[in-house]
Structure formats: C-alpha cells, structure tokens
C-alpha cells in the first residue's frame, strides 16, 4: 500500500508522509492539543526553551538543512550496501523491521520504487543486539559514514551547531548536589 501511495504521489515522500499521518507527523501527540499546551507553557518556562519546543513540535527537526546531492552520491551509498551484521541474522532484522513498522516508526515500501523517490538518500544500516539475552535486535546507522571521501552523508547536511545545546546528559551529579543542599537546609 505504501508503494502504491508513493507512486500516486509521484514519488514524493513528503506527500506520502503527510497523507499517511499518524506517528510519522507526530499525530500521536495530538497536534492541536500540543499547540495549546505550547501556548499554555508560554511564560511558565524559559523563553529560549519555549521557542525551541514550539519549533520542534510545529516545524519538525532539524532546524536547518542545507543539502545538495548528486545521483553519483546516491549510487555510492546504495551500492555500498548495509553492514554485514544485517546479513548475519536476516530473520531477526526482518522481525525488528516489522516491529518498527507496526508501531508506526518507519514506512517500508518496495525497494524497486526507490529510483523514483524524490530527494532520496540511502544510509547503510547495521543491526545490534542480535544475540543479546535481554534485548531485541534493533537497526542502527552511522551518520558519519562515507563510502568514499567525496561523498556526502546526512550528517554533512545538518549541524549540531544549529541545534540547542544538550544539557541533560547527566542527572546523577545534579541530583546529588540537590540532596547535599537539602541536607544543608534540613540538617535533621
């Protein structure tokens, strides 16, 4: 069905995603309610956080993308293929894909339609946790991977410098400092 819809939309994945909606456009966040919530939070949270939050929920990520890719670039990535881990246990990789598709995280379509997709770029995939006793296999990719030195990967088209800084990478030490301050104020 996704392939039929993709052909119907002349290979435009943006139109397909907007039509498919659901989690692909963040509909699970209930967009009108999310926007009302953003308005409600105005003035209650720092202005810079509010601005970034509104941008993420309304416009999507990343904040800036400056991309120009050639067909040679696409071919280089496509011919490179996936990491060998994908071939180690194809049934597990397929199971992970089905799970992601059922939950609406990805949209699989017929690979033969790929040459007709507008602005298409393929990133080689790998699969981790294939033999982990307590975790399910999951696909990952390396945004920095270049099949040849002159190729452009998706990491080259967006930059962390354009995004808000990561500040919550650690909660343990701040929590301990808070606990220490509590003990200062409440010694008994």
């Amino acid at each position: 069905m996704a392939t039929a819809a993709l052909i119907y939309f002349d290979g435009d994945p943006a139109a397909l995603v907007r039509w498919w909606s659901g989690p692909h456009v963040g509909a699970h966040r209930s967009q009108p309610v999310a926007l009302e919530l953003v308005e409600y939070m105005k003035g209650k949270i720092p202005a810079d956080v509010h601005s970034e939050l509104r941008h993420i929920l309304v416009n999507g990520i990343p904040k800036r993308c400056n991309a120009s890719a050639s067909n040679e670039n696409f071919e280089a990535f496509y011919q490179c293929g996936n990491h060998p881990s994908c071939a180690l246990a194809p049934e597990k990789a397929y199971k992970a894909l089905v799970k992601d598709a059922k939950q609406g995280f990805v949209t699989p379509f017929d690979k033969r339609a790929m040459p007709f997709v507008l602005n298409c770029h393929v990133t080689p995939q790998g699969v981790v946790d294939l033999d982990h006793p307590h975790k399910n296999p999951r696909p990952i990719f390396d945004s920095t991977f270049h099949p040849c030195p002159l190729c452009f990967a998706i990491i080259d088209w967006s930059s962390k410098d354009d995004e808000p800084p990561v500040m919550c990478v650690s909660a343990e030490i701040p929590w301990m400092i808070w606990l220490w301050n509590l003990r200062i104020s409440y010694p008994h």
């Binding site: 956080v49 379509f109 990561v166 990478v169 343990e172 200062i184």
Partner: protein, 118 residues
Amino acid sequence: MAFRWDTHAPNLVGMHTSVQAGHAVFNAGGTFGGCTTPSNWDVMARAIIAMAQCLWIHSLTIVEQASVCLPRPLEFETEPYQLEGGFSQASPDSKHQGVFHANGRRLPPQFDHHVDDA
C-alpha cells in the same frame, strides 16, 4: 520512546531512507544515532523540568491532588535515621547554600532528567 517526541520535517523524510531486510524504508522519526536527535529530545526534558518547577511553585493544589492518587497515604519519618558511625554534617559553602533563597523562599526541586542514549 524518546525518539518519538521529535519527528523529521516531512520534506526531509526522503533523506532518511534506508534498506532493511530487503525493503526500502522511510524513517520519519528521530533516529538512533541521528546527529540532531539528542539536542532536540533535550528540549522536551528541559520544558518538562521547567514546567514541573513552575507547577511546584504556583500550583500546590495539583501536588496535593496528585498525592491522593498514591496507593497509600505518605508516611514520613519523625525521628532522624541513625546510621552507624553517623552522618557527617552538611554545611553551606560558597557553592552550596541549601534549598532556600536569600529571601527565605524555598527553591523548587530540580526534576533532573537523564536519557541514556539517543
């Protein structure tokens, strides 16, 4: 589920295509290993922290209502816990002044967040 908070702009979904298990795949959500995923998820956590602190300061009734939902009434220790060997006393210094403003107003909890990987 952290990745589901942020989604790529639809015009960039084609850029996030891959081949998995013999199928072509569009990925519209923040991706594991994506360059801009952590910084955009981080905004959600910062908004939650700021909103929780705001509610803590201004809406005590919400806290009281939430406590009703707990499975049993909260019981607090009335006697200080006696640790063998004793606690070392925490004393204020230039960095750590306790949980009160200079004007005596109580600071809200920090509501620290941590995401292990994104």
